[in-house]
């Protein structure tokens, strides 16, 4: 069925609403790997056995990777909650206890981040979680105290107390959340329990001294539908969450110039890392006279440790497709390519389906929505080459050639794919575009700092307690992201540094954690924004090894076309290897800096120009570690590699006894 402008207007006036009772299972690659599909089938079977009537829905991921698989439950008379770590057994328990028994499950609830300051409705459920030292040891005590207190006041059949898996506030003692209004109290002590029950639960009064007033630091723009929309059903996107309204607005209410002006108002800059203003890129492409122009969506997320693009493509493919259509309209392009890594089969499958469904609904092809605008979108698969994230190499790869970069200028906006003007936008950029056209550029630019507007998605992983996707306004500090949103460092160790920007970025040491995140500030610190990977490293991680790891990656991935990158990278790696074996000399450090400078100045493309960043930034902030290796000699190096093997083992599996067979190869492996 082909949609028209009128259809979309009618839908905008009267969007579909969710059925009254539903369970959404978050099926993205991460969730499926953790067992989301077996949870889904367990729910489906149990529903049929028990003759229940709720709708079982599929969705992408909200980003809570630490709790995969995640399901969201809406059931009559119950607050809407997320459950994490849902095994098939837990899935059945959710049906029996939550849907039928109207009780929250212990130890699996992920509390909502949309905290309220007022008790709007009578309290029906209480979540407790001890976030202080000792990792939740007092949670059960608080649950017991609340239950006793409720019993004493005769409220125990009206209010249920459940232990939460994660409550979204960290290192603030015992935290209590009153549902359904989500009023949250932090640093609750045992004597406060009676007060909370008497005042808040019985009389609906907020206790101001305990109230957690800090609002959630996340703002979801690119991730706005992730975990809430079915990526495999275009109807869900169009009819329920207002999808393709941004496209309708662009096509019928705005001229292409006005779309570009709207983008200028939003001040969106490329989310792939370099931060080039998106509107300018479009304008340059549009200004170039040509019979054909192209839009490319760069989904070649080669950054190890980053999964934002995968998650957006899998969870909300239509938002990206809509962004691409808008970009095509704005610059007069009629063809678009999704360039996606072949290592992301789920993302490819969902974009393929999105394209097919969009075509069936008249959102791709000739005369889209009855306008004069025509557009075709296709998929091209990457084949495992990091350099193909570079735009000229990416174009070569789409043309079916080996992905070697070529010198710029001419820039792709002048001469790109098959010699035609081409605009290459990152997945996240395009997901933002559709939001900007729907909600307006001013709303987007109201977030962020003076030079970096809007929000940015980060994949926070490494030695962090809650590895997850976060989307924060620019200007949020690293400390807020890591400690307030992601719960700090794993096993309560001390943080040493944060790595941003992947192999092209650098490390940011602990003393700069209060830096607000923006393109400029990160660059000043010797790192880059990059596509948004953020790796947390603790005291046990050796910076020399980390630098070597990234450099080895870049050496492996160098296409070999230009000498500074091919030879410089290799020589740099040799020197680092020598140092890490304790055989370096003081001159080596000087030599490293010279090679790095040559690579930065003389390399052909971004890969070579930035490959030395991890080395330079570790040298800048952790020069003493290099010195220690040089002065300590081979015996020190051996000691360090043993410690690293032991440390990694302890981090991976604390209860495991000393693994005798693993110990020996590990020391060899450190030389990898």
């Amino acid at each position: 069925m082909k949609l028209t402008r009128q259809d979309l207007e009618a839908i905008a006036a009267q969007p579909d609403v969710d059925p009254p009772e539903w369970i959404r299972v978050q099926l993205d690659t991460g969730g499926i790997a953790a067992g989301a599909e077996s949870a889904f089938s367990a729910l489906a079977n149990a529903r049929n056995e028990r003759h229940l009537s709720f709708s079982l829905l599929r969705a992408g991921s909200i980003g809570y990777s630490f709790a995969d698989p995640v399901v969201e439950v809406q059931s009559a008379g119950m607050p809407r909650v997320h459950y994490g770590q849902v095994s098939p057994e837990v899935a059945e328990a959710i049906l029996d206890q939550h849907v039928v028994g109207r009780k929250l499950l212990d130890d699996h609830v992920i509390a909502t981040r949309a905290r309220s300051l007022e008790i709007g409705a009578p309290v029906t459920h209480v979540l407790v979680c001890d976030t202080g030292e000792g990792a939740g040891s007092k949670t059960e005590f608080f649950q017991f105290s609340f239950n006793e207190e409720l019993k004493r006041r005769g409220l125990s059949d009206r209010v249920q107390v459940a232990r939460a898996l994660d409550i979204g506030i960290y290192d603030e003692g015992a935290v209590v959340q009153l549902l359904p209004s989500a009023v949250t109290y932090a640093n609750v002590l045992a004597p406060d329990v009676a007060r909370i029950v008497a005042e808040s639960i019985e009389n609906g009064r907020v206790l101001d001294d305990l109230l957690w007033k800090t609002p959630d630091k996340q703002v979801r723009v690119a991730l706005r539908h992730c975990g809430n929309v079915d990526p495999g059903r275009i109807d869900d996107y169009i009819r329920r969450v207002g999808g393709y309204q941004g496209l309708r607005r662009a096509l019928f209410d705005l001229t292409p110039e006005q779309v570009i002006a709207e983008m200028k108002t939003s001040a969106l800059r490329g989310r792939g890392g370099a931060g080039f203003p998106t509107w300018m890129k479009w304008q340059l492409t549009r200004a170039q006279p040509a019979p054909q122009r192209y839009v490319i969506c760069n989904g070649d997320e080669g950054d190890p440790g980053a999964f934002m693009d995968r998650s957006v493509l899998e969870s909300d493919p239509h938002a990206v497709l809509e962004g691409m259509l808008i970009a095509g309209y704005a610059m007069g392009a009629s063809k678009g390519y999704f360039y996606i890594r072949a290592e992301y089969p789920k993302a490819v499958e969902r974009i393929e389906r999105a394209i097919q469904e969009a075509r069936e609904h008249g959102l791709l092809g000739e005369q889209i929505l009855g306008s004069d605008f025509s557009f075709e979108a296709k998929i091209r698969l990457g084949a495992g080459a990091f350099v193909c994230g570079e735009e000229t190499a990416l174009i070569a790869s789409i043309e079916g050639r080996r992905g070697s970069p070529s010198p710029r200028p001419p820039y792709p906006s002048v001469r790109g794919l098959w010699g035609m003007p081409t605009a290459i936008n990152n997945v996240e950029t395009l997901a933002c575009v559709s939001a900007i056209l729907e909600k307006g550029g001013e709303r987007f630019s109201s977030f962020g700092t003076a030079t970096s507007k809007g929000t940015k998605v980060f994949a926070v992983t490494g030695k962090v307690r809650n590895a997850q996707l976060v989307e924060v306004p620019m200007g949020t500090t690293l400390r807020e992201i890591i400690y307030d949103i992601c719960g700090g460092v794993l096993d309560e160790r001390d943080i040493k540094a944060v790595q941003t920007g992947g192999p092209s970025g650098g490390v940011i040491p602990v003393q700069h954690l209060d830096t607000p995140v923006s393109y400029e500030t990160l660059q000043q610190l010797g790192s880059i924004m990059g596509s948004g990977g953020m790796l947390v490293m603790d005291k046990t991680d050796s910076m020399v090894e980390v630098a070597k790891f990234y450099l080895k990656f870049c050496v492996d991935e160098s296409c070999g076309k230009c000498a500074p990158c091919r030879i410089g990278g290799y020589q740099l790696l040799q020197i680092l290897d020598r140092i890490s074996r304790g055989r370096g000399s003081a001159e080596d450090l000087v030599q490293i800096k010279r090679i790095c400078l040559a690579m930065q100045r003389a390399s052909l493309c971004g890969l070579g120009q930035t490959a030395s960043n991890p080395v330079l930034s570790t040298l800048r902030y952790f020069g003493e570690e290099y010195q220690a290796f040089i002065e300590g000699g081979p015996s020190y190096a051996r000691k360090m590699s043993r410690a690293a093997a032991g440390g990694a083992g302890a981090a991976a599996a604390p209860p495991r006894a000393a693994a005798a067979p693993a110990a020996q190869p590990s020391s060899g492996g450190a030389e990898l």
Binding site: T29, G30, I32, A33, A34, S65, D68, E301, G302, D303, P304, G305, A306, F307, R310, E343, Y344, K378, R380, L381, G382, A383, G384, A385, S397, E399, G400, R401, R402, G403, W418, A459, T461, G462, K463, A467, Q499, G502, G533, L535, M537, F549, Y550, F553, A645, A648, G649, A651, A652, A653, R656, A659, P661, A662, P665, S666, G668, G669, A670, L672
Partner: protein, 226 residues
């Protein structure tokens, strides 16, 4: 059958039925045996052997050409699907690798004829990208993720353990072609680091002590299907 063979061939004359059922090893034994007994190989026997060998060769040739024609048909199908697209080479190679698990040489040659692209260019692309393989994969694939998140959480140990367990280095296949061991950059499951993919199934939070279990499970399954 083998033990019965020498008596089955009398010194005077032969029984073709017996001969056709011999495998090469016992044929040679038989000839040696005859030579010892007679001092020479009787002409009628040697002629019969030549005939049988030719029949076998003919059969092999037929199988070969049948294989070639299926290869040709497959390649034609893939090429047809992408014929009118610009820059189709990588997508065709993806289709071929999906089908065979690697890019066999004869398929690459056929593709070169079909698309009118030089074989050197096809190999240029295949060898440039990590994803394309020139060797057949093992029956079971074990892939260890070595993305940064996994690296920080101890993927080095997993690599070492897998190397020890399988006795091969990354990128290699065991001699019995049962296991192929690969290291990848990042599978995008950084939330569950360190991660491995065992026969297409992603395993998260892997400990090095788990690896022996994964391998044993695969071996046990194989035993069960036998």
């Amino acid at each position: 059958m083998k033990s019965a063979a020498p008596e089955g061939v009398p010194s005077t004359g032969h029984r073709p039925v017996e001969l056709t059922r011999q495998d090469e090893g016992s044929l040679l034994d038989l000839l040696q045996d005859l030579e010892q007994r007679h001092g020479f190989v009787p002409r009628d026997i040697s002629e019969e052997i030549t005939r049988v060998v030719e029949v076998k060769l003919e059969r092999l040739r037929r199988i070969q050409s049948k294989l070639e024609s299926t290869t040709r048909r497959d390649v034609q199908q893939h090429a047809e699907r992408w014929r009118n697209e610009e820059g189709n080479l990588i997508m065709v190679l993806h289709a071929i690798q999906n089908q065979y698990g690697y890019v066999p040489r004869e398929v690459a040659m056929e593709l070169s004829r079909e698309l009118g692209v030089k074989l050197a260019r096809i190999y240029e692309v295949i060898t440039f990208y990590h994803y394309f393989k020139l060797q057949p994969p093992g029956a079971h694939n074990i892939t260890v993720c070595n993305g940064t998140a996994c690296y920080l959480k101890g993927s080095t140990e997993l690599l070492n353990e897998t190397r020890t367990q399988l006795g091969i280095a990354e990128g290699q296949t065991t001699t019995d072609r049962q296991f192929h061991f690969e290291v990848v950059r990042c599978i995008g499951c950084c939330g569950m680091a360190p991660a491995m993919v065992v026969d297409g199934k992603t395993c998260g939070h892997v400990k090095s002590s788990d690896i022996a279990g994964y391998i044993a499970t695969i071996k046990a399954q194989k035993g069960a299907t036998k």
